[in-house]
Amino acid sequence: MTSNNKKELLLEMKNIHIDGFSDERWHKILKGVDLNLYRGEILGLIGESGAGKSTMGKAAMGYTQPGCKIIKGEILFNGTDLAKLTEFEKRKIWGTKISYVAQSAAASFNPAHRLMDQTISAANRAKINSTEVLRKDAVQLYESLQLPDAENIGERYPHQVSGGQLQRIMTAMAMSPRPELIIFDEPTTALDVTTQVEVLSAMRSIVDKFNTAAIYITHDLAVVAQMADRIKVLRYGEEVEESETREMLSNPKEEYTKSLWSVRSLIKPEETNEDYMLSIKNIDAAYGSSKVLHNVSVNIPRGKTVAIVGESGSGKSTTARVITGLLPQTKGEIIFDGKKLSPKLEQRSKEELRRIQIIFQMPDTAMNPKQTVDEIIGRPIEFYHGVKGKEREAKVIELLKMIELDESFLDRLPSELSGGQKQRICIARALAANPDLIICDEVTSALDQIVQEGILKLLQKLQKDLGVTYIFITHDIATVKAISDEIVVMYQGKVVEQGLKSKILNPPHPDYTELLLSSVPEMDPDWLTNLLNKRSS
C-alpha cells in the first residue's frame, strides 16, 4: 500500500438504493449509501445482520441477489457504471476484475468438481493464460496461503479438505485472475478462532502482496481492525460513520458505534462452591465406531455457571448430549444431585428429565414452526407439572414476563419473531420445566452482538432470581468472560483444564489454552501483526 496508489479512485458508489422483495412486499435494504475505495486499499464494512452490508458488498459488483433490485445510484468501477451494464458486459468483469469470497466456503464450492478446476475456472474462462500456467500459478497461491501439500491439494474434492483450508482455497480462487478488487463477505465468521488467525493472516499477506483493493465485510470489529485501512459502519441500510481504522477504534463518534464496542465489557464476578449439582466422571462416548470423548471429568457447582470452551470437534456438544442422555456414554458415570443418572434417556424418570433442560444454538430449528408461543411454552408446563387451563395460561404469561416479553406474544408463530426473541422463547421453554440445570449449547452464537448482550444479561438475571445452574457451551471467549464462574477447556475430546475463570484466563497456561486465548482477536489494529511476530519468534 504505497501512498502513491491511494490517490487513485478504483470504486465509487454513489447514493445506492436497493429494495428487496419478501413477505409479499418490497422492503428498503439500502437507503442511499456512498462508498469510495482507492487502489490497494482495504475498506471494512461492519454492521449487524440486516444492516445491508452483504447487499452493499454484492452491489459493488453490480450484482443483486434474486428478489432484489437496484433502485437508484451509480457504481463507478474504473469509471464505468456497473449498474448500467448488461449481464453480458458485467460477466466480463466478474471473476476477472472483481472477485468474491463468500462466507460459507463449504457451501460455496461446487461439490462435483475438483478444487483446482474451480480455482482456475474464472481465469481460464477469460483466457488469461494457458491452463498449464494457471495451474502452476494456483499451486504458488496455495503455497503462499500456507496450505498443506500445495502441489496436490487441488486434486481433491471440496468435502475432502477442512473448512479453514477451503476458505483459503477460495481466496486463491479469487486471486487467480489477479483482480483489482476482492469482496470478502464474512470469510472467517464460520471458522474457529484458532483457524481464523491462520486464514486472516494468509488473506492479509496475499492482498498486500498483489496490492489488491478489497472490501471486507464482517460483524466482528476486532477482525475488521486487523484487515482494514478504513472502516464504515452500517445500520438499517444507512451509513452510521466512516473513518480510518485507528481513529475509529480510539475515538468512535456515534452512540451506535460505541455500543458495538461496549458489548464486550459485560463482566461477572466469579464465585464457586464445593457443592456439585452435577459431576461427570471418566466419561467415554462414541458415535458408532469413532470415539469422541476420552475420559472426560467435569464438576458443575450448584447455582453457578460453568463454561465449556473449545473449537468445533472438541467434544463440547457431545458432552452435553451425554449429560442429557441423548447419547449414552460407553464408560464412566454421571452423578446428578448426589444420585447416579442412568446413561439412557428412556431409563430416566420424568423428574430427572424435568430437572435438566437444554437450550440449543439455532432457535429457528429448535422450535416447531407450526406452534404458537403459547403452545411452545405451555407444553412443558402441562407435561411436567400437570397444570391446565387458566393456571397454565397464567404460568405462561409469568414466564414471558420473566424473559422480558409480554402476553401479546402468546399467539405468534416462531416465524413472526426476531432471532433474539426466538432465543428468549427457547429460554422460557427450558424454564417452564422449572429445572435445576440448564445446558446452553452455543445459545448466542447465531445472534448479533447487541442481542447477545441482552440474552446474556437475561441469563444472569434468571440465575440470580431462580438459582439455576448453567453449563454454557461456547467457542466465544468474550461470552465466557461475560458469564462464567468456572471454565472447562476441551480439545479433541479431552479436558485440557478446569478451574476458576481467573485461573484459566491468566497465565501460566497449558499450550492449548495459550493458543486458544491468544487467537481471540483484540480491538487493536496491530494485534495480528504482533501475534504473528510472537508466534514466529
Binding site: 454484492k58 459488483m61 450484482y63 441477489q65 460477466r91 466480463k92 468483469i93 466478474w94 471473476g95 476477472t96 472477485s99 468474491y100 463468500a102 460459507s104 457451501a107 460455496s108 464450492f109 461446487n110 461439490p111 462435483a112 468438481h113 475456472s121 474464472a122 474462462r125 477469460a126 481433491r156 474434492y157 468435502h159 475432502q160 480462487m173
Partner: protein, 258 residues
C-alpha cells in the same frame, strides 16, 4: 429356482402342438413363447426411450434455463397434460389424428420376425409417440425441478459471481449435481415404459410381452404369467439398482472417501 437363471421357465399349459407327428403332444417351453415377444417389447421401449430421454432432458434443462418465461410455462403446462392423460387415450387420439384423419401411419403395429428394421420404425411410430408423450412429461419436470433446486445453492451464486454464463451455470455447475435425482426418474420411467406397454400394445395390437401376459391370464396359463411377472419385477429391481449406481458415480462425496 436355479432353473430360472439357466433360462428354464418351465412349459406352457397351452400352445400344445404336434411336433414331428408321431412323438405325440408336447407343450411349448415358456422361454420360446416369451423371447420373441420380449424382443418386440424391448424394441418398442428402446426406441421410445431413445426419443423420450434426450427430449425430456433437453426440454427440462432449457425450461430451467428460461425459468418462468412463456416457453417454460407452456412446456411445463403441456407436460402436465401429457402426464395426466392415460396411454389408451393418448393412443386413440394419435390414431384419430395420424391414422384416420391424416393417414400417415398405420393403426395397427403388426410386426413379425421378417419385418425389416425400417418397416418396424414405420409400424411402431404411433406406439412410440404414445409412450414418449406419457413418460416424457414426468422426466422433464423432474429434470427442471432438480436443476432449479440446485440453482438456489450458494455455489451457483458463486459461479455467477465468477462470471459464468447462464448456460455454463446450468450445464457445468447445476447438472453434475442433479444427476442422481434425474437418473432415478429416468429409470422409473424406463421401467414404466416396459410395463406400461401392456396398454399400448393392446391399443395398437403390437405383439409384445404385455399382450402375451394379458392373453395368458385369459387362458389361465400360469407358467407364462409367472415368467412375465418375474421379468417385470426384475426389470424394476435392475433399473433401480442402475439409478443408485449412477447416483454414486456422479457424487464425489460417495466416490472418494474423506
Amino acid at each position: 429356482m436355479s432353473n430360472v437363471f439357466q433360462g428354464d421357465f418351465g412349459s406352457s399349459f397351452s400352445g400344445r402342438s404336434k411336433v414331428q407327428g408321431d412323438q405325440g403332444d408336447r407343450s411349448r417351453l415358456v422361454v420360446e413363447l416369451i423371447i420373441p415377444r420380449l424382443k418386440n417389447t424391448l424394441f418398442l421401449t428402446g426406441v421410445s426411450a431413445l426419443v423420450a430421454i434426450p427430449l425430456a432432458l433437453l426440454l427440462g434443462i432449457s425450461a430451467a434455463l428460461y425459468r418462468n418465461s412463456v416457453y417454460d410455462r407452456s412446456a411445463t403446462g403441456f407436460s402436465l397434460v401429457t402426464v395426466s392423460s392415460p396411454e389408451f387415450f393418448t393412443g386413440y387420439i394419435f390414431i384419430l389424428l395420424l391414422a384416420t384423419l391424416f393417414p400417415v401411419f398405420p393403426t395397427i403395429a403388426n410386426v413379425n420376425e421378417d419385418t425389416s428394421l425400417i418397416d418396424r420404425f414405420y409400424l411402431t411410430a404411433l406406439p412410440v409417440f404414445t409412450l414418449t408423450l406419457v413418460t416424457m412429461g414426468h422426466m422433464m419436470r423432474m429434470t427442471r425441478s432438480a436443476i432449479i433446486n440446485i440453482l438456489s445453492s450458494e455455489y451457483i451464486e458463486m459461479a455467477k459471481l465468477s462470471g459464468a454464463t447462464r448456460y455454463e451455470v446450468i450445464v457445468k455447475h447445476a447438472l453434475p449435481n442433479a444427476w442422481a435425482p434425474i437418473a432415478q426418474v429416468i429409470t422409473i420411467n424406463l421401467a414404466y415404459m416396459l410395463i406400461g406397454s401392456v396398454v399400448v400394445e393392446f391399443v395398437f395390437n403390437y405383439q409384445g410381452i404385455g399382450r402375451l401376459m394379458v392373453g395368458s391370464v385369459y387362458n389361465r396359463d400360469i407358467p407364462v404369467v409367472q415368467a412375465c411377472a418375474l421379468i417385470f419385477a426384475s426389470t424394476y429391481v435392475i433399473l433401480n439398482l442402475l439409478a443408485d449406481l449412477i447416483g454414486i458415480i456422479s457424487n464425489p462425496r460417495l466416490l472418494y472417501p474423506k
